[in-house]
C-alpha cells in the first residue's frame, strides 16, 4: 500500500498514514497533503474536542472526509479543494449548488487551497443532521437546516496544526462559542472536525496560515446561529458558556506546532458531551437491468473489473465510498458517511449506468425520489435499501459490563474470552451494540440513522445505572508503544458488519475519554504540558 492509499478497513476507510512533521522542512513535497480520512479513529471527531459540548446526536461524520487521497495545494488541486470548501463537505458541494452564496466568500474557495472557506450550507432538502465542524482555532458551523434557513459557515481546513499549541484554550474557546449559540437556540449540534484536516497540518505552510488568518478575521463575525438540529437530546446539562466567543481568532499562534497528528485532550470532565458519530452506511439496490460490466468499466473512472468474479468495483470520491456492481444489476455501496450520501451515491451510479447502457430514455425511479429522463419508456425501478449503518459513540463514563450482563441476560452476551465488549442485541430497532468498559459503544446493523438514535437512547439509561469511574484501557505508556494495526482491506460489501470493536480502532485507543493516536510522538507534546 502506498502512502495515502485508500484502504478499506472493514467498513471503515482509512488512509495509510504517514506522519510528516511539518518541521521536516522541505522534505515534504509541497503539493501533497496527506489527508486523514475521517474514518480513522474517533480522533477526527474529537479532534475538535470542543465539539463534545454538543448534545448528543447523530451526526454524519463530515462528508469532507471521504475525499480523495491527496489534497493538492497547488492550484491544480483546487478542484478538490473546492469540494472541501463548499459546504465544508463534499456532500455540501452538490448541496451547496442550490444555495445562494453569501458575501461572495465562495470565491475564496478557489483562490486559496488552504484558505478558510466559508461554507454555505444549503437548505431544506437535506433533513439530515449536518455536521458541525469545529476545528481548533476556528469555528466551522454547519448546522442542521431547518428550511428555509441558511447559514454561513466557516470551514477551517488545514488549520489544525497551527493550533496545536492552543489545545487547551481552543477547545474551550470553541466550546464557549458554540455553547453560546446553543444557548441561543438550544440547538444541538455535532461539531465534527473535518477529518482530513487532521492530517493537513503536516503540510502547513506558514504563509497560508497567515493568509488564512487574515481571511478568517473578517469571517469571524459572520458566525451564524445554529439551528436546532434534528437529533437526539439526551437531556444532559450543558456547560456554562464563557463570555468570550471571539477569542478564537486571536489565539492563532505564529508557529505551527510541529506535530503531525492530533492528540485529543479531554475537553471537559463533565457528562454533558456525548457524541454519536455515524461511521458507515451500507446499502444495496438492484437495477432491473443486466449490466455489461466491461463496457461500464471502460466508461467509468476509478474502477477495477474482476472478470473471474464478475464484479466491478469503483471507488467514488464524492461522497466517497466503495461501490460494487454486479452484472445482474445488483449494486452494493459501502463506506458512505450518512444515509443521504448513500442515496446520492446510489443515484449517481445509477445514472451513470443508465448513461453507459444507453437507456437514457428511461425513467429511473428510486424509491423516494426520482431521477427521470424525458420520454420514458420503461421504468427502471430500483429498490434502494440501507443495509447497515454503523455508528460509534463514546460515553464519558466507564461501564461495568459484567453487571449489565448479569442483569440483562436475555439481550446481552458477555464472553470475555471471545470479545472485549458486551454484545447487546436489540430487537425493536434492530441493531447490535457493543458496549465496552471504557464507555464506548458501537452500533452496527442498524437500518437507519434514526434507528441508531433510538437504540442509543434506549440503552443510555440502562448503561447509566452501571456507570463507574473512568476505566482506562491500560496505561498510557504501554499504549504509546503499540504500533498501529495495519488496516485490513476487505472489499467485499458482503462483509457488511465489521467487528468494529476496540481491536479495530487499532491501537489508538480511548484513554480516559481522550483519543490517542498511537503514532504520535511523545516528544512533540512535551512543551504543551498535556497530561493524560
Amino acid at each position: 500500500m502506498q502512502m495515502g492509499d485508500h484502504q478499506m478497513m472493514g467498513n471503515q476507510r482509512t488512509f495509510v498514514q504517514k506522519v510528516i512533521p511539518a518541521q521536516a522542512g522541505g522534505t515534504v513535497p509541497q503539493n501533497v497533503a496527506y489527508v486523514q480520512n475521517q474514518g480513522v479513529r474517533m480522533v477526527q471527531q474529537d479532534l475538535n474536542g470542543q465539539q463534545r459540548i454538543m448534545q448528543p446526536m447523530v451526526r454524519p461524520v463530515p462528508q469532507n472526509g471521504t475525499g480523495p487521497h491527496f489534497v493538492r495545494q497547488v492550484p491544480a488541486g483546487q478542484g478538490f479543494q473546492a469540494n472541501y470548501g463548499q459546504g465544508g463537505t463534499i456532500a455540501g458541494r452538490s448541496v451547496a449548488g442550490g444555495a445562494p452564496i453569501r458575501n461572495g466568500m465562495q470565491q475564496q474557495v478557489y483562490q486559496r487551497p488552504a484558505g478558510a472557506i466559508p461554507v454555505v450550507t444549503p437548505i431544506p432538502q437535506q433533513q439530515q443532521p449536518r455536521t458541525v465542524y469545529i476545528q481548533q482555532g476556528h469555528q466551522v458551523m454547519q448546522g442542521h437546516h431547518r428550511p428555509p434557513q441558511q447559514r454561513i459557515f466557516q470551514n477551517q481546513q488545514q488549520h489544525q496544526q497551527q493550533h496545536q499549541q492552543n489545545f487547551n484554550q481552543q477547545p474551550h474557546n470553541n466550546q464557549m462559542m458554540i455553547q453560546q449559540q446553543i444557548r441561543q437556540q438550544q440547538a444541538q449540534h455535532h461539531q465534527m472536525g473535518q477529518p482530513q484536516m487532521a492530517r493537513h497540518q503536516m503540510v502547513q505552510q506558514h504563509q497560508q496560515q497567515i493568509q488564512q488568518r487574515r481571511i478568517q478575521q473578517p469571517q469571524q463575525p459572520q458566525q451564524q446561529q445554529v439551528f436546532p438540529p434534528r437529533g437526539m437530546n439526551l437531556a444532559v446539562p450543558l456547560r456554562e458558556p464563557s463570555p468570550e466567543p471571539v477569542i478564537i481568532k486571536r489565539e492563532e499562534p505564529e508557529n505551527p506546532p510541529p506535530s503531525s497528528s492530533m492528540k485529543q485532550e479531554e475537553p471537559m470532565p463533565d457528562d454533558s458531551d456525548i457524541d454519536i458519530q455515524i461511521r458507515n452506511v451500507v446499502c444495496n439496490y438492484t437495477l432491473p437491468l443486466h449490466i455489461d460490466l466491461r463496457k461500464l468499466a471502460m466508461n467509468t473512472h476509478n474502477v477495477t473489473y474482476e472478470r473471474e468474479k464478475g464484479v466491478m468495483m469503483k471507488q467514488k470520491r464524492s461522497p466517497g465510498c466503495y461501490i460494487k456492481v454486479y452484472s445482474s444489476g445488483k449494486v452494493y455501496i459501502v463506506g458512505c458517511r450518512s444515509e443521504e450520501d448513500c442515496k446520492r451515491a446510489a443515484r449517481s451510479i445509477a445514472r451513470h449506468v443508465q448513461r453507459v447502457m444507453g437507456k437514457t430514455k428511461e425513467k429511473v425511479q428510486i424509491r423516494n425520489y426520482r431521477v427521470s429522463r424525458s420520454k420514458s419508456h420503461l421504468n427502471m425501478k430500483f429498490m434502494f435499501q440501507v443495509n447497515n449503518v454503523l455508528a460509534t459513540c463514546r460515553l464519558p463514563f466507564g461501564i461495568k459490563i459484567e453487571e449489565v450482563a448479569a442483569k440483562y441476560p436475555s439481550e446481552s452476551t458477555y464472553e470475555p474470552e471471545l470479545s472485549v465488549g458486551l454484545v447487546w442485541r436489540s430487537i425493536t430497532p434492530k441493531a447490535t451494540l457493543r458496549i465496552h468498559t471504557t464507555g464506548s459503544i458501537t452500533v452496527t446493523g442498524a437500518s437507519s440513522e434514526a434507528d441508531v438514535l433510538e437504540v442509543l437512547s434506549k440503552i443510555y439509561p440502562i448503561v447509566l445505572e452501571f456507570r463507574c469511574h473512568e476505566r482506562a484501557k491500560g496505561n498510557v505508556a504501554a499504549q504509546k508503544k503499540r504500533k498501529r494495526k495495519a488496516p485490513t482491506n476487505t472489499r467485499a460489501p458482503a462483509v457488511k458488519r465489521e467487528r468494529f470493536d476496540d481491536a479495530n480502532y487499532g491501537n489508538s485507543g480511548v484513554i480516559n475519554n481522550q483519543v490517542y493516536f498511537s503514532d504520535e510522538d511523545e516528544d512533540l507534546y512535551d512543551d504543551l504540558d498535556l497530561d493524560d
Binding site: 448479569a406 452476551t413 458477555y414 464472553e415 470475555p416 474470552e417 471471545l418 468498559t437 471504557t438
Partner: protein, 306 residues
C-alpha cells in the same frame, strides 16, 4: 417342582445362596439343596485401558437415549483387513442409516475422543451428548462444521457442570479454530435457554496451578489475589484467564516456587505480554492483594515490577 426349595430336614430354615458354586445350602445341616443356580451377574469385566483386541461382551453397549432407536440396532464394523464385500456391506448400512443418527454417532465419537484427551469424566460427556442432541434437533447449527459443533457442546457441558474449560483448551483438543467454536457457542446459547454462569478466575486456579506443580498454598494465595483484584476493580475489562494468570504469577514470584510469565502463559493459554500487562495493574496494590497469612519468600518489595 413343588413350591420353593427347602431343606428336607429343616423346612423353616432360610437357605443360603453360594454364588461361587451356584448352590443353595442349608445353614443348619450343610445340605446342598439346590444346584446349578444361574448367575445373573456380568460375564466378565472389561476395563477401558485394557488393550484387548476384541470386546467379548455379547450384549453390546447400554441403551443410549441419544440415538433415535436407542442403540439396539446393529452396525457393521469393518476391521482393518476388510475385503471388498465387507466394505460394501458397511457402506450399504451407512447409506441407509438415518442422517440424524449418523451425525449423532459421529458427534458422540468426537466428543468421546476429545474428552479422553483431557480425561473428562463420563458425566460431562453425557451432558455434551445431550446438548448436541438438542442442537441437532433444533437445527440451528446446520451447516457448521460438525467438529465445531461438538467442541462447542463440550465447552458448554464443562461450563454447566461447574468446571469450565477455556476456549483455548477446547481448541487444543479439537481440530477447529477458536473463532469457529465461539460462533457455534454463541448460536447455541442464544437458542437454548441455558443460563450459563460467568466465568471467574477461581475456576481455573486449581487446574493451572496443578499443571504448574505449584503447592496448595500458592494456589490459595493466587485465588485470593484474583478475587481481591476483581473486587477492587483494578483489572477492569480483562479476561478472567489473564487475571488468573497474573495472580498466579504474582503469588509464585513471592514464594519459593517461582514461575516465569512464559511458563504460566503456556499453561493458561494467555500471552506473556498480556500477563505482564495485567500484572502491572495488580502490582501497585500488591500489599493489599495477598492474603494475610501468606509466607513471603520474596518480600513484596522484591516482586518484579513487570
Amino acid at each position: 417342582m413343588s413350591g420353593p426349595v427347602q431343606c428336607p430336614h429343616h423346612p423353616d430354615v432360610h437357605l443360603i445362596e453360594d454364588h461361587r458354586a451356584g448352590d443353595l445350602v442349608c445353614p443348619a445341616c450343610g445340605l446342598v439343596v439346590g444346584d446349578r443356580l444361574v448367575d445373573v451377574g456380568t460375564e466378565w469385566r472389561s476395563f477401558s485401558n485394557e488393550k484387548s483386541g476384541n470386546d467379548p461382551s455379547r450384549v453390546g453397549a447400554p441403551e443410549s437415549p441419544y440415538l433415535s432407536g436407542g442403540d439396539l440396532s446393529t452396525s457393521i464394523a469393518v476391521g482393518f483387513g476388510g475385503s471388498d464385500s465387507d466394505n460394501t456391506l458397511a457402506n450399504a448400512q451407512r447409506k441407509t442409516m438415518n442422517n440424524t443418527d449418523r451425525q449423532m454417532t459421529t458427534a458422540m465419537n468426537l466428543i468421546r475422543e476429545m474428552s479422553e484427551r483431557v480425561h473428562l469424566p463420563r458425566n460431562i460427556q453425557e451432558s455434551a451428548f445431550r446438548m448436541f442432541k438438542e442442537v441437532l434437533d433444533s437445527g440451528v447449527l446446520r451447516g457448521k462444521n460438525i467438529e465445531a459443533q461438538a467442541a462447542a457442546c463440550l465447552y458448554i457441558a464443562c461450563r454447566q457442570d461447574g468446571v469450565p474449560r477455556t476456549f483455548k483448551e477446547i481448541c487444543a483438543i479439537s481440530r477447529v479454530s477458536k473463532k469457529e467454536i465461539g460462533r457455534c457457542f454463541k448460536i447455541i446459547v442464544r437458542n437454548s435457554s441455558t443460563n450459563l454462569e460467568h466465568v471467574t478466575s477461581a475456576d481455573f486456579m486449581s487446574r493451572f496451578c496443578g499443571n504448574l506443580y505449584l503447592p496448595n498454598s500458592i494456589q490459595a494465595a493466587a485465588t485470593r489475589i484474583a478475587k481481591r483484584a476483581v473486587d477492587m476493580d483494578l483489572v477492569a475489562g480483562r479476561s478472567p484467564i489473564s487475571i488468573a494468570a497474573a495472580a498466579i504469577y504474582m503469588a509464585s514470584q513471592a514464594s519459593a516456587e517461582k514461575r516465569t510469565a512464559k511458563e504460566i502463559g503456556d499453561i493458561a493459554g494467555a500471552a506473556e505480554v498480556t500477563i505482564r500487562q495485567t500484572y502491572k495493574l495488580l502490582y501497585p496494590k500488591a500489599a493489599e492483594l495477598f492474603p494475610e497469612d501468606f509466607k513471603f519468600e520474596t518480600a513484596i518489595e522484591g516482586l518484579p515490577s513487570s
